[in-house]
């Protein structure tokens, strides 16, 4: 029997037999964007000051509009939706990196986000990025040393590239190194945002095996990807988000089928 939780008019079914690891409760996210629109010359800025108008280049974006769901231990949840539907924003909110405007996200332990734009420090070499990444995740220098070679092997960069600054990496290489660093630690909740999209077939196989491992270590994995076959392969549940609202939640086959049909129109 499923329990029913009520919140703000939405009804959520909860499975009492399973242990929740992420609870998203009527989440709203509004974030600010600088440098959007508006003429940037001094005269227009001055006239705005005189007329006491706000800077037009600062815009507020209502990215998530009241989302609620529960994810359980051991689940791999795929999140799909068109560009700009709020998928990445949702992951950032789960990770606690974007504070909610209203509502809340409850998690067990500290979720870690692995994104494609999350360049660590692009002016530093791969080597230093590994060390700094590990230290920032809270590892001791000894643990970092122990993990170092594993990370290098997992990332499988071309000979010598580990000593070059990260800005010289191709997007695929950068993504591989970042994934390798983040995957070096066991996470309660691992959030992967398109980080596998640029990898080649061999790397995808490796990372899939690692995600499988991380799931078995009693956490949950969230995956945002545009390649629907990746989602179908790796996830046992799919959430479809449209314009910041929940469109569908359930079995990967069903949701992806409905999504492709809607996208085909």
């Amino acid at each position: 029997m499923a329990d029913t939780k009520v919140r703000g008019g939405t009804i959520i079914d909860v499975d009492p037999a399973r242990e929740p690891i992420v609870v998203v409760d009527d989440l709203h996210i509004i974030y600010r964007v600088y440098g959007a629109g508006g003429k940037g010359n001094a005269a227009s800025a001055f006239s705005r000051v005189l007329r006491r108008k706000n800077r037009p280049s600062m815009k507020e974006v209502h990215a998530i509009k009241g989302l609620s769901f529960v994810a359980y231990r051991g689940e791999a949840v795929g999140i799909i939706g068109t560009n700009g539907s709020g998928k990445s924003t949702l992951l950032k909110a789960i990770a606690g990196l974007l504070p909610p405007h209203s509502g809340a996200v409850y998690t067990d332990g500290q979720p870690s986000l692995l994104g494609v734009n999350a360049a660590l420090m692009k002016d530093l070499t791969g080597e230093r990025n590994i060390v700094l990444g590990c230290l920032a995740m809270g590892m001791t220098p000894a643990q970092t040393k122990a993990q170092y070679q594993k990370i290098v092997d997992f990332a499988g960069l071309k000979e010598g590239f580990i000593q070059y600054p990260m800005r010289t990496y191709s997007s695929g290489m950068g993504a591989r190194l970042r994934f390798a660093i983040a995957a070096a630690k066991t996470h309660d909740v691992l959030l992967i945002d398109e980080a596998l999209a640029t990898g080649d077939a061999k790397f995808k196989r490796k990372s899939k095996a690692r995600i499988e491992e991380l799931r078995k270590e009693a956490g949950a994995v969230f995956l945002v990807a545009h390649q629907l076959d990746t989602v179908k392969e790796m996830c046992d549940r799919v959430i479809w988000i449209d314009e910041g609202r929940m469109r569908m939640d359930g079995d990967p086959e069903e949701v992806i089928a409905a999504y492709t049909e809607a996208a085909g129109k």
């Binding site: 329990d3 029913t4 939780k5 009520v6 919140r7 959520i12 909860v14 242990e19 929740p20 690891i21 992420v22 609870v23 409760d25 009527d26 974030y31 600010r32 964007v33 600088y34 609620s68 529960v70 950032k92 909110a93 789960i94 990770a95 606690g96 990196l97 974007l98 504070p99 909610p100 809340a104 996200v105 409850y106 998690t107 067990d108 500290q110 979720p111 870690s112 986000l113 692995l114 994104g115 734009n117 999350a118 360049a119 660590l120 420090m121 002016d123 530093l124 230093r128 060390v131 700094l132 990444g133 230290l135 920032a136 995740m137 809270g138 001791t140 220098p141 600054p165 970042r178 983040a182």
Partner: protein
């Protein structure tokens, strides 16, 4: 059975992911990241000059060139000595020690904004960023101290026990810089205009802090300041002046003698101000930065 999601989450011991941890735990996690702070600072320092051909030589070349410029303008062209003994070492100490605080403030104000990608990628106590930035500046200062001490000795300053007292001055100034750069980090994170305004504020501060002239000497001479002694008291409480002047007292024997005996200014007041500013800035700055901890990811 009706239960809110919040109560359901609480029943399973889940916590809000964007919540600020308690202060004690936060300080512990910052302390646990001390290796990260040091490694981040060293990496920043090394990457600073990787684009230039001379590379790390610039770490020493920059302060030397700085000193040459000030020597040219104030020592040769303007000749602003006005009876201050050891003027060149006096000027160089002032410029370096003020620059230490100045750079901590300017780069502190950008420490959150410049590392948004790191903030949004990994979870770690954000206070480590301004701390790392203050460490970068401290490492840079240690290198410029080689130049500074070289100049001090080149102008015939004898090695004395008093110079050991420079170490506590340096540490107090470091504490002050850490605190103030945390304040600036929070201000700069939520208001991008801060970094545009800072150069003007810093320049004004430079001229108020007795970096290129001797404030005790000025107080001694100026009639306006003698008739309004409270202005002098305010100027003497200025933290930048306090640290700069205190450093000079430890490094330059003749200048110390000049201030203490000819102008009869006491050093005790300087030490009290230095200690008070350090404690207030460090504790206040940390708390000020901490109280916005959960909001730093947001634009």
């Amino acid at each position: 059975m009706n239960e809110t999601l919040a109560a359901y989450a609480a029943r399973y011991g889940l916590r809000q992911s964007a919540a600020r941890p308690p202060l004690r735990k936060y300080i512990q996690s910052v302390w646990a990241r001390r290796n990260f702070i040091w490694a981040f600072a060293s990496a920043k320092n090394i990457s600073m000059y990787t684009d230039s051909r001379l590379g790390q030589v610039w770490q020493l070349l920059t302060p030397i060139l700085n000193v040459s410029v000030y020597y040219l303008i104030f020592g040769v062209l303007l000749n602003t000595k006005r009876g201050v003994p050891d003027f060149i070492p006096f000027l160089v100490t002032g410029v370096f020690m003020f620059g230490f605080t100045q750079r901590s403030i300017t780069s502190g104000s950008k420490s959150v904004g410049d590392n948004l990608s790191l903030i949004r990628a990994l979870h770690f106590p954000r206070a480590t960023l301004p701390l790392a930035i203050a460490t970068v500046e401290f490492q840079q200062l240690l290198l410029s101290l080689i130049v500074l001490l070289g100049i001090v000795f080149a102008f015939g300053e004898p090695i004395s026990v008093q110079m050991l007292m420079f170490v506590p001055v340096l540490l107090l100034q470091l504490m002050f810089n850490v605190g103030i750069s945390m304040v600036m980090a929070r201000l700069g994170a939520f208001n991008r205009d801060v970094s545009q305004l800072l150069p003007f504020i810093m320049r004004t501060w430079l001229y108020l802090s007795g970096v290129i002239f001797s404030l005790p000497d000025l107080l001694h001479r100026s009639h306006a300041l003698k008739t309004h002694p409270w202005i002098g008291e305010i100027l003497k409480a200025n933290p930048a002046y306090v640290y700069v002047e205190l450093s000079r007292h430890q490094l330059l024997g003749e200048y110390r003698h000049f201030v203490q005996h000819k102008l009869t200014e006491s050093t005790t007041q300087l030490w009290i101000y230095a200690g008070a500013w350090s404690a207030v800035a460090l504790v206040g700055g940390f708390l000020f930065f901490f109280s916005a901890e959960e909001r730093y990811g947001r634009g």
